[in-house]
Symmetry: C2
Subunit: 191 residues, 2 copies
């Protein structure tokens, strides 16, 4: 998506440790009008798939998920990061390793809000190693819901998460795919 | 707001420990169409105040803030809970005690995204003791921005947070104000 690539070129900051900061429009300040355009694009891609629920993960997925859900006219469920090791029995859970924070989070979704009647689109801001996405997929599977696919804002295509998930037969649509990135040479997008 | 009070009566669950769970439409599953109506009401209340930025706090404020910001056609900034004790020098910070989680969080906003040119509306899901709101107000003050007021979805009016902040001369508009609440007797709203 050209609009997004241009915005990343202008506002994205590449930092040491393979970090792309997009705090100016997505991860700290949310440019709501712009992010709604991303949502419109997800709707163009998945609008005919019967999606009745959007699933994301706190915190940074929530904004884009809500602005996308308006086009689908469906609710958002966001997986929570468990604050305690006592997981309530009425939840679906999965373990997600966080590269950014160097720890493992247990994520959970209440059984009340996801089940076999649901056709789920997963929305998230980043896809790199795929840990968050795989965790959300595990929760969808446990719930018996149907997974329609995943809508990702920015994919680091030089990491293996996207390939791994696509090889599992899951449709993944990323609005910007980064081919390479470095502090010295900036960002190259996939063709 | 009658629409919201009715929804709380139907979907809200009062739990021991003075907890009101509204996971079914606000805090875990987000009923995006409904929450956008709350945003429309905040716009009715604050639409003439020149708001150019909405400030909230992760995670549960983000959805309602984004859906509200669409009416104001302005960006959302969400304060982050610090993951480390090393706070970057380019941030405004405040300490917020969490009743729910029994701990103290340092919250932060990058100086890049809030400053003297801003007229800020704070949006949050709950107001009880007022700790989160006071923390956000401290950040607004440190930034030199002008605070227009606060828009709260649910205020526990029997706790002192709302009174405390209003006594400081800050406009606080809460869409539902709970007068009393208990597992035995359910929820009573203020007139």
């Amino acid at each position: 998506m050209r609009l997004l690539e241009d915005r990343i070129r202008i506002d994205g900051k590449v930092k040491d440790g393979d970090v792309l900061k997009v705090d100016g429009f997505l991860n700290h300040m949310i440019d709501v009008r712009f992010v709604a355009e991303l949502g419109r694009e997800f709707y163009r891609l998945y609008g005919s798939c019967g999606v009745n629920k959007i699933l994301t993960i706190e915190s940074s997925g929530i904004g884009v998920a809500c602005l996308t859900a308006q086009f689908f006219d469906c609710p958002v469920v966001f997986a929570k990061k468990a604050k305690t090791t006592n997981i309530a029995p009425d939840t679906y859970t999965a373990s997600v390793a966080s590269y950014t924070h160097g720890n493992v989070n247990e994520i959970l979704v209440s059984k009340e809000y996801l089940g076999p009647a649901d056709k789920v689109l997963i929305i998230d801001d980043f896809l790199a190693r795929g840990n968050a996405l795989l965790g959300l997929m595990e929760i969808v599977k446990k719930s018996g819901a149907e997974l329609v696919g995943a809508g990702i804002v920015i994919e680091k295509a030089y990491q293996d998460g996207g390939e791994k998930v696509r090889n599992m037969g899951v449709r993944v649509e990323s609005l910007a795919r980064i081919a390479s990135m470095s502090v010295e040479n900036g960002i190259e997008f996939c063709d």
